[in-house]
């Protein structure tokens, strides 16, 4: 149900763009105004969200430790899975962000032979995630050829590597295929694994369908519906040099592609896609496990009601004295004893 809703939403967006451009001729809207709104929403929204997170302090140092702590000098500590230095944290974060270290640990739990709980390694989700994110990154960087003049060397380099197979003209990029495959996998597992389907919301399917739409229109534009790419670059350069002008003769499918990308940008800061930034800011990963070495400060560390030793001794003084335990304040001498003295 949630999947169908998401698909319908994406198709509606496609329809909107087609109608707007083909029937309505709203080129300036879809070619200029929407992109500007989208980028403002993306950057503004993202900064707003991050500052919102940052406004709340990290009161405690609560890293999840995944290895031996730093303790006695002769015990080898796990520098990166349980870092106690800033450098260790840096490596841990790099492993996490570049290689999805935690997901790489993933296991699959099963009850085998009726009574054995087993935990096998499973790398599918990790592979799917890595394939998806890296091909996305490559595709993103590749697109810089439409956004920069002159085109930086690394964009050309990346294109050459990505099109290394030299299949077809224009060459088919490997990442296009990987991106599609990974997206398909991520979507299928959401639909096929009962538990994952059970937790999946529109928020989970929508970005997948949106990206599938973006990828499909992109591949169509490159290989099947060849449009005037020079015109497209003139449009984008106009946009980013703040002298927007619509170029004539660009295929309507391009406006669909652009509109879906704009939707993604505008949707990004207000969705789970913010894990892009969240992964950097998660206090269970980005803090060193050195709270016994360095005092961590809690800015709202307010005083609380404490049962002080004095109150405690007042409660139990007689019993303590009777048991021969030392007390700070001797009990009031009883009148009878006072008389004796």
């Amino acid at each position: 149900m949630n999947a169908v809703l998401s698909l319908v939403a994406v198709l509606a967006l496609v329809g909107l763009a087609v109608l707007g451009v083909e029937a309505g001729g709203l080129y300036s809207l879809f070619g200029v105004i929407v992109p500007y709104i989208a980028i403002v929403l993306f950057l503004g929204g993202l900064i707003f969200r991050v500052l919102g997170w940052a406004k709340s302090p990290v009161p405690f140092r609560i890293p999840t430790t995944c290895g031996q702590q730093k303790s006695l000098p002769w015990i080898k500590s796990s520098k990166y899975d349980n870092p106690h230095t800033g450098f260790g944290v840096l490596v841990r974060m790099a492993l996490e962000i570049l290689f999805f270290r935690s997901l790489f640990r993933n296991t699959k739990t099963q009850i085998a032979e009726g009574d054995k709980v087993t935990y096998g390694p499973t790398k599918w989700l990790w592979m799917g995630a890595i394939a998806f994110h890296y091909s996305f990154l490559v595709i993103f960087i590749r697109h810089l050829r439409f956004f920069t003049e002159p085109i930086p060397f690394f964009v050309d380099l990346l294109q050459t590597v990505d099109g290394f197979m030299q299949v077809g003209v224009p060459v088919f990029y490997m990442t296009s295929l990987i991106f599609f495959g990974a997206l398909g996998y991520l979507l299928l597992r959401r639909l096929a694994i009962p538990q994952v389907r059970y937790i999946s919301l529109v928020n989970d399917y929508f970005p997948l369908f949106l990206l599938l739409g973006i990828a499909t229109t992109g591949i169509l534009l490159r290989h099947f519906v060849k449009t005037d790419v020079v015109g497209i670059k003139e449009l984008t350069l106009g946009l980013l040099s703040f002298q927007p002008a619509i170029t004539e003769g660009i295929h309507w499918l391009f406006y669909v592609h652009l509109f879906l990308v704009c939707t993604l940008l505008a949707y990004f800061p207000f969705s789970k896609l913010m894990h892009l930034i969240g992964v950097f800011m998660s206090p269970t990963r980005n803090l060193a496990n050195n709270s016994r070495m360095v005092r961590h400060i809690n800015p709202w560390n307010a005083p609380v009601k404490v049962h002080t030793y004095e109150e405690y001794e007042d409660d139990f003084r007689d019993k303590m004295v009777a048991a021969g335990l030392p007390v700070d304040k001797q009990p009031e001498p009883k009148p009878a004893q006072a008389e004796k003295e």
Binding site: N2, L5, W53, K55, S56, V58, F60, T64, C66, G67, Q68, Q69, K70, S71, L72, W74, F100, S102, L103, R105, N106, T107, T109, I111, V117, Y119, L125, A129, P194, Q195, V196, I199, S200, L201, V202, N203, D204, F270, K272, H275, G278, S282, P283, R285, S291, R292, M293, H296, N298, W300, V304, V306, H307, D315, F316, K319, M320, G324, L325, P326
Partner: protein, 546 residues
């Protein structure tokens, strides 16, 4: 034999518990109500404890009641509470926002593995709270509602929170696998704090909290009672070893203050661990003291709220200062070390009146504890052994085939993995590891941590204990393991049940008990009986019978 009741383990058939239904129900999770069946939840906190602690809304009520007697403005209280916590904790905010529901955490939770209830998947446990957050704090949630996982805050949601936030042992195993490090323990803690605002606590943790506040320990042992207990232990030690140990209590000017969970004063086998500490310290001549005021290392505040953690924990530094000790030594306990490692210095420090811990026996300076000034007994003992300060005869433990259970908190909130293993390898000849996905940072909870270790919660304890119990049974079958060592008082209490049910014949022990049983003491007797006052070697026969 009388019919077994839901709070007894015989009530549950292993065949049933071994067949959890992993298929989610037909109805969506928002439309599936909580099933408050006996054995799966814990009695509410008694009003007298709430009153004593000054907590809100003390009243008599039962979980199965339709009316939980919440304050009129309960909704406002909760929403304000959520806002307050969003402002106080970046973790809470980020964890509400970034989950992508990839599901990697799902089969990492012992309650899900053993029970199959989808709301015990960490992701869905968090969604219980997230759904309200979305409704109140996100535009999409306000507009699109259920589609985007947002829902209205109702009494049923509160009941669901109670059920599932008290079906999480805050063990953090899921956090290890989460690509964003989302820590369900944090979310559960927030959830429990919010429930606390309405006076919803479980008695199993709020009574110890009240006790601890007044007497200094969870069990409510008063100063003279503690003295009696320790003296009683000393008698047993003398019987077992022939050595008469000293019992320094509230001794001003001692070098070290020793703090351990009060479970070790009361229940076997924690008591043997306690006897172990006393014997060890006596043998090495450590100038230490017990405290009656700070007679609790554990901190059920961790299962209640941040303020209560702080309030109970404050006693340790206060007492260290009053007694004028140089540093603090902590006993074997799980969640106690989470507090000591991650919260104590921040909450109640700086401990600038103490010195950087230095072992008076070996001269080792514990640099890694230079700010909290608090050392773990396993670090301390491992250092003693490394320097050859203990005379050990590991063959005295030859009748024991031991495995080691990493307690969740020392493993995943501290990283104490090698020290206990080093000790075990030094004092036992037969040490066997459980399978690798069940130890170290991937260790499984006993199923009864975070205030869930009570009998009325038996079904969940057995279900949650399945992964751990199964791993124990694996080494029991493969290596004839007959004893499970751990460094956690809750483990020593709850793993007995888990082992009796899932791996009968395996007993539970603390590490220090094994250390002292292997130690050659000055002036010792023939050591024919161990600290349990059992003839050495008997245990093996016993387990063979089982």
């Amino acid at each position: 034999m009388a019919e077994a009741k839901p709070d007894q383990m015989d009530y549950y058939q292993q065949e049933d518990l071994l067949k959890p239904d992993y298929h989610p129900p037909k109805t969506g999770w928002m439309d599936t109500p909580v099933d408050f069946r006996p054995g799966s939840w814990i009695y509410p906190g008694k009003p007298k404890h709430l009153e004593y602690l000054g907590l809100p809304n003390p009243r008599e009520w039962a979980v199965t009641d339709e009316d939980w007697k919440l304050p009129e403005n309960w909704k406002e209280i909760l929403l304000d509470g959520i806002q307050e916590r969003l402002d106080k904790y970046r973790t809470f905010k980020i964890f509400m926002d970034v989950c992508v529901r990839c599901g990697a955490c799902a089969d990492k939770c012992h309650f899900f593995i053993g029970g199959g209830d989808p709301k015990n998947m960490p992701v869905l446990r968090a969604e219980l709270l997230r759904s309200i957050y979305r409704k109140e704090y996100t535009l999409a949630g306000k507009l699109l509602g259920k589609m985007v996982g947002a829902r209205e805050l109702t009494i049923d949601v509160v009941k669901e929170w109670f059920y599932y936030f008290y079906q999480c042992t805050e063990c953090r195993r899921c956090s290890v696998f989460c690509p964003y490090g989302i820590d369900t323990a944090e979310i559960t803690m927030m959830g429990r704090e919010l429930l606390g605002l309405l006076g919803i606590y479980v008695n199993w943790s709020i009574e110890p909290v009240a006790n601890c506040f007044r007497t200094g320990n969870h069990l409510g042992i008063q100063p003279h009672g503690l003295k009696d207990t320790l003296e009683f232990f000393a008698e047993d030690i003398e019987e077992a070893t022939g050595v008469k140990v000293k019992i320094p209590i509230n001794k001003k000017g001692a070098e070290v203050l020793f703090v351990t969970p009060s479970g070790d004063f009361l229940a076997d086998p924690g008591t043997y661990t306690c006897m172990g500490y006393m014997t060890l310290f006596n043998e090495i001549g450590l100038d230490y003291t017990w405290s009656t005021y700070a007679s609790e290392g554990g901190n059920f505040g961790l299962f209640t709220s941040a303020d209560v953690i702080k309030s109970l924990n404050a006693k340790i530094y206060a007492e260290a200062k009053r007694l004028g000790v140089k540093w603090i030594l902590g006993g074997e306990c799980g969640h106690m070390w989470r507090v000591l490692n991650q919260y104590m210095d921040t909450m109640n420090g700086p401990a600038d009146f103490l010195e950087v811990p230095k072992s008076p026996i070996t001269g080792t300076v514990f640099e890694s504890a230079k700010s909290t000034k608090m050392v773990h007994i396993s670090e301390f003992t491992a250092d003693l052994i490394k320097h050859g300060k203990l005379k050990l005869d590991p063959s005295r433990n030859d009748h024991i085939r031991v495995t080691y259970h990493d307690s969740c908190n020392p493993a995943r909130a501290m990283g104490l993995l090698e020290e206990p293993r080093y000790i075990l390898n030094s004092v036992c000849n037969n040490f066997f590891e459980m399978p690798e996905n069940t130890i170290r940072e991937q260790t499984f909870c006993c199923g009864g941590g975070a205030g869930l270790g009570t009998d009325e919660n038996m079904e969940m304890r057995l279900r949650g204990g399945l992964p751990r119990g199964n791993a124990v049974r694996y080494v029991q079958k493969k290596y004839e393991v007959n004893q499970l060592a751990c460094v956690c008082a809750i483990d020593r209490a709850t793993l007995i049940t888990v082992c009796d049910y899932w791996a009968p014949g395996v007993t539970v022990t603390g590490i220090t008990e094994l250390v002292v049983n292997a130690m050659v003491l000055e002036g010792e007797n023939d050591r024919s009986i161990n600290l349990r006052l059992e003839p050495v070697g008997e245990q093996k026969e016993g387990s063979d019978d089982a």
